[in-house]
Symmetry: none
Subunit: 226 residues, 2 copies
């Protein structure tokens, strides 16, 4: 488990770090939003983010917004004041959890565990119109007909679903699905996208090409009538 801790106060960071290490989690640390974003971009294997809203350079909410654009990683937000809570709600951001300082580290660890646990069995299934992905069965259906996907296609589709409406670069897809130790060609993605699309049949347009960037999965098929 890898935790990204973002807080400008050394004391807080260290306490959190200690507790995380105690649980056997690996930690990355950042002092502000800029650092945090760099780390977040560089390490796609981060499992959870712990983020202080009050920070110099780039405030927590901005950093949070940016990170969500890159990847959908569970995040716990820390705040010194209760007022910030309203702000968060105002943003209507899908924050995973929220803690006000001062908090007990035990409480934090408990919440981390809860989120990671919840995350491990995130969705049992995904349904959009008559496209269904049953994760326990490791199967994909259109209507009641099962469509056979290869391992890579299945993983791709799952990753798209977990990150719907987020533009994903080829780099990102490679590192997340193929692993950091893949040194092949970017364009191999294209071929898998091709076959995945063809398997998705009428839903092929849910995978949208973003020229110069990569691909994005959206819950609306492009209009086929033109």
């Amino acid at each position: 488990m890898k935790v990204l801790i973002i807080d400008d106060e050394d004391l807080i960071r260290n306490i959190i770090k200690e507790y995380c290490m105690n649980e056997g989690y690996l930690t990355y640390e950042a002092r502000d939003g800029i650092e945090a974003l760099d780390l977040f971009k560089a390490h796609s294997d981060i499992d959870i983010v712990i983020l202080d809203v009050m920070m110099p350079n780039m405030d927590g909410l901005t950093a949070y917004t940016q990170m969500k654009k890159i990847r959908n990683t569970p995040t716990i937000i820390l705040s010194a004041r209760g007022e910030e809570y309203d702000k968060l709600m105002g943003f209507n951001l899908g924050v995973d959890d929220y803690l006000t300082k001062p908090f007990s580290p035990r409480e934090l660890i408990a919440r981390i565990k809860a989120i990671l646990k919840r995350d491990n069995k995130v969705l049992d299934s995904y349904v959009y119109k008559d496209l269904k992905v049953d994760i326990r069965a490791h199967a994909v259906y259109i209507g009641d007909k099962e469509i056979e996907l290869t391992p890579k296609e299945y993983e791709l589709l799952l990753y798209f679903i977990e990150n719907k409406s987020i533009a994903l670069s080829r780099e990102q897809l490679l590192s997340k699905i193929w692993g950091y130790d893949f040194f092949g060609d970017d364009r191999t993605i294209d071929t898998h996208i091709k076959t995945l699309r063809s398997h998705l049949g009428p839903y092929r347009n849910m995978i949208k090409t973003i020229r110069g960037v990569g691909y994005k999965f959206e819950e609306k098929e492009k209009d086929l009538t033109n």
Copy 2:
């Protein structure tokens, strides 16, 4: 219901015993792993084992290992040490439940009940078309003809039935059927799948291969017409 209580502390043993008797369970008691094993061997009607990890002569985990070799009886492990490490190990070993001392006897009873309940709701027969598995008789039929399965094949089939429509990894099958202490090759599963399939004859396609993952048991034979 017969409970084997293994703990070197008389006090703890007696408390557990009291509560068990209150529930109408019969109890066997052992002070250490050696005694426990003797009792366990002698009484094949033991329904559940409650085991302290810290004991003289033979420690709990060793005793646990030995018992698992003899029979697969649900086990609740007790530990005085709160370290997460032990807990994790416990769970990885396929223990049914885990409690850290001090625990409330009520909690223990609740867990015993949960396990026994889970254990009892196991179906006593499974039927699909003319494939019949009579669990009480430990026999499998296709039509009227009994098909002879080896122990591993039978356990595999049963586990598949209990987890139908769920993708099962080789790891999972190994740890559940072979036990956590099997250090052999993953691929030995394949061979058992092969022989089980061949024994299942016309139903061989109910065991579906999920490439890159493992196997899945489904209540529909793969369509052979295409």
